[in-house]
Amino acid sequence: QQPVQSPQAVILREGEDAVINCSSSKALYSVHWYRQKHGEAPVFLMILLKGGEQKGHEKISASFNEKKQQSSLYLTASQLSYSGTYFCGTESNSGYALNFGKGTSLLVTP
């Protein structure tokens, strides 16, 4: 079942912050976040396992609320290189394929 992402699109100025949300109607084992630039394959950012953990990757971090079946990706002090489409991918059982949300288009301007 496809997770729901919001917002659909975000435009930021360099240095601003953004939050992208991902929610599922099914119980989740893990949530993955990927960024895809135009014409390229998706690139892995991070994975969050059930247990309500939070992870960070430089100025990009994420949280996973297992009870609410929701995850959020936090981009702080955005850089031009952050531009792209962000997808969350979810799985209900470990080791199988991921179901991806529709994506959030992020544009960071100078």
Binding site: H32, E40, F100
Partner: protein
């Protein structure tokens, strides 16, 4: 990490023809996944390919249209049969090492059907 070689990287095809996409991996993996990404859209799972068994197709995808082979643990092919313009998409093979962790993607095969 995994190195995935996918080809062709792009092709322009005529309506009614078929094209086979190849995916070669530098590691042995049990499950490989084939995704489709239509222009400006999300990634949609076509099927899961297990070595030594028939592929498992998602709702809306059938074996006659998207036959998959998985002859060994490092290779898989996806054929797009009897193509129509609606099949114009990027097709991506992917895998997870050790059955869990991140999903690695090939570079994708961009098909345009005229």
């Amino acid at each position: 990490s995994a190195v995935i070689s996918q080809k062709p990287s792009r092709d322009i095809c005529q309506r009614g023809t078929s094209l086979t996409i190849q995916c070669q991996v530098d590691s042995q993996v049990t499950m490989m996944f084939w995704y489709r990404q239509q222009p400006g859209q999300s990634l949609t799972l076509i099927a899961t390919a297990n070595q030594g068994s028939e592929a498992t197709y998602e709702s809306g995808f059938v074996i006659d249209k998207f036959p998959i082979s998985r002859p060994n643990l490092t290779f898989s092919t996806l054929t797009v049969s009897n193509m129509s313009p609606e099949d114009s998409s990027i097709y991506l093979c992917s895998l997870r090492l050790g059955g869990a962790g991140e999903l690695f993607f090939g570079e994708g095969s961009r098909l345009t059907v005229l």
